[in-house]
């Protein structure tokens, strides 16, 4: 089974002790190892057979290509509010989904990776990450690992670097394959704009339009409320026709695309919005989209089978938490 076990695997090239940590050093033991070790206590194992190495994406045949694009939020931006991350986790049909972080846009920042494992440690899932700067540490080939996931979660940072690095390592083609196979692609900021034809990036300083991968038609600008300098650049670019119409998305808001259409807008912050930005009779307009406010407090929602709730409670108790 192609689950990446990084633990204890130091890079074979002894030379650069630069920057490699195992997930254990990020404090992931509670989630990763509990789920790997604990087959006996996992009543919720994915009933689908594990993918074979030759057809890593095969088991997802028939699933709708899904992208969840966040204007900002999730574990890096609102660690105290797990609503969006729980929503991401819930997008995967598997009960204990494999979630792989691609922290590429942040230069594989230790901090982003650590926050990821912390955030997903108390959710039912199998978190891993892939660092393109430290591929030597990876036991399983890149393509096979990514295509065996239920969710690929793309962190924020530099959109220009993200795309350059993905192309240099062939990750763009792998992600297209993953998307078409129904693996959920989620991300915030650069990890949101990358999926569209164009985004508004600050990767080179002042905000400007930059081409993305174009999985989704249209354009995307993030932090629509939080970083107001992006908004006029976005609106101008759409007005001039430099980039196609698209979506401006506030911090805390995520757009769910099934195929290439918006299926739902959700938010972790009441009051936050997404905007459809397009040109009507020569004028650029922002049409507000009211997102559904995600509720947090109920850990055991009706969709959660009892066994899962029990397992969560058990884990919480083990971690000394009162829930």
């Amino acid at each position: 089974m192609p689950i990446v076990e990084f633990v204890g695997q130091e890079p074979t090239n002894s030379t650069l002790d630069l920057m490699w940590r195992s997930p254990r050093e990020y404090g992931t033991a509670s989630c990763t190892s509990a789920s790997h070790r604990g087959r006996a206590v996992s009543p919720d194992r994915d009933e689908c057979p594990a993918p074979s190495a030759s057809q890593p994406g095969a088991r997802r045949a028939g699933r709708v290509p899904t992208i969840f694009a966040m204007g900002g939020g999730g574990f890096t931006m609102e660690p105290e509010n797990p609503a969006l991350d729980e929503y991401v986790r819930g997008l995967a049909p598997a009960r204990e989904p494999r979630i792989c972080l691609l922290p590429t846009a942040g230069g594989d920042s230790e901090d982003q990776i650590r926050r990821f494992y912390t955030a997903f440690a108390d959710q039912l899932c199998k978190p891993t990450h892939v660092s393109l700067f430290r591929l030597g540490a990876q036991l399983v080939p890149l393509r096979e690992h990514l295509l065996s996931q239920d969710v690929v979660y793309v962190g924020g940072g530099s959109m220009i670097n993200l795309l350059a690095l993905w192309r240099a390592h062939g990750v763009d083609a792998i992600l297209r394959e993953a998307w078409q196979a129904g693996i959920v692609l989620a991300g915030l900021s650069a990890g949101s704009m990358c999926w569209f034809e164009h985004g508004i990036t600050t990767s080179t300083g002042a905000p400007r339009a930059a081409a993305g991968l174009g999985f989704l038609p249209g354009s995307n600008s993030v932090h629509h409320d939080g970083e107001p300098a992006r908004r006029p650049v976005f609106l101008d670019a759409v007005a001039r026709g430099d980039i196609p119409p698209g979506w401006g998305v506030d911090d805390g808001v995520g757009l769910l695309f099934r195929g290439t259409r918006v299926a739902e807008a959700v938010t972790s912050r009441p009051g936050a919005r997404a905007y459809r930005v397009h040109v009507v009779e020569g004028e650029v307009v922002e049409e507000a989209i009211e997102p559904r406010v995600l509720t947090l407090s109920v850990r055991v929602d009706p969709k959660t089978p009892l066994a899962v709730a029990e397992l969560r409670a058990l884990r919480a108790a083990r971690q000394g938490r009162l829930d």
Partner: protein, 246 residues
């Protein structure tokens, strides 16, 4: 006065790898003072590490303001930092490139036009130095071993040769380098940890080492066989070494 084009390519070593042994770093800093500045301008490029914070901190700890005018460029945080990368690089005496992933390094540099800016700086006489990925990048072809297996990668071609690093410590690099040479890769140079190849123009001028036993090799495929020729090297630890005055 026109300054020569110079590249110092470490097989491994310097502050990233040899704590307490500043010989290679002192050597490149010495080349940089030839500009005439008391405190040469040294810019660190940590790109191959993903601009890892702790790596940047270590650079500043070793290249202190007492000895030089240190700076760095983070290509992941361009909303802060130097505004004009090209101008900044051209104003330096030494550009020091850190280790990490050479494929990632080249991908990011090309996206930001850093490759072209570095070529201009090199041609203007700014000394280029680096270890590992920061060595491989200058050559036409490089053996990248940061990805588990060791595979050839096309570099920036400032130097028309091929290059392999960590030649002593990572035994898988050598057979891979030999196989690539036999498959038609241009001949070139291999350097062990602690050995640095100093090029003036496109030609190797000398080999210097921070360790008495570190070696570098000229490596070529000749008539279906690979020939490794150990190169004469100057150990920088011997203060009175006369070759240093050359």
């Amino acid at each position: 006065m026109t300054r020569p084009r110079q590249i110092v390519a470490f097989g491994g070593g310097g502050f990233s790898m040899e704590a307490g042994n500043p010989l290679l770093d002192d050597y490149v800093l010495g080349l940089a003072t030839a500009s005439g500045r008391d405190r040469p301008r040294v810019c660190f490029l940590p790109t191959a590490s993903g601009d890892a914070d702790h790596y940047v901190v270590r650079f500043y700890r070793h290249f202190t303001a007492a000895r030089c005018e240190p700076s760095h460029i983070s290509l992941f945080r361009r909303d802060r930092g130097v505004a004009d990368i090209r101008e900044h690089l051209l104003s330096q005496d030494l550009v020091y490139v850190g280790g990490g992933s050479v494929v990632s390094l080249l991908g990011v540099w090309r996206a930001h036009g850093v490759d072209a800016a570095l070529r201009d700086a090199w041609e203007a006489g700014v000394v280029m130095a680096g270890l590992s990925a920061g060595s491989l990048c200058w050559f036409a072809e490089a053996m990248s071993g940061y990805h588990g297996e060791c595979t050839p990668v096309h570099g920036m071609e400032f130097l028309p040769w091929s290059n392999a690093v960590h030649y002593d410590k990572e035994p898988h690099r050598r057979p891979a380098f030999h196989a690539a040479l036999l498959a038609g890769m241009p001949g070139g140079f291999a350097a062990e940890d602690g050995a640095a190849l100093h090029f003036v123009g496109e030609e190797l001028a000398r080999v210097v080492t921070s360790r008495a036993t570190a070696r570098a090799f000229r490596v070529d495929a000749v008539g279906g066989e690979v020939v490794e020729l150990p190169l004469p090297a100057t150990y920088l630890g011997v203060a009175a070494e006369p070759a240093l005055a050359a």
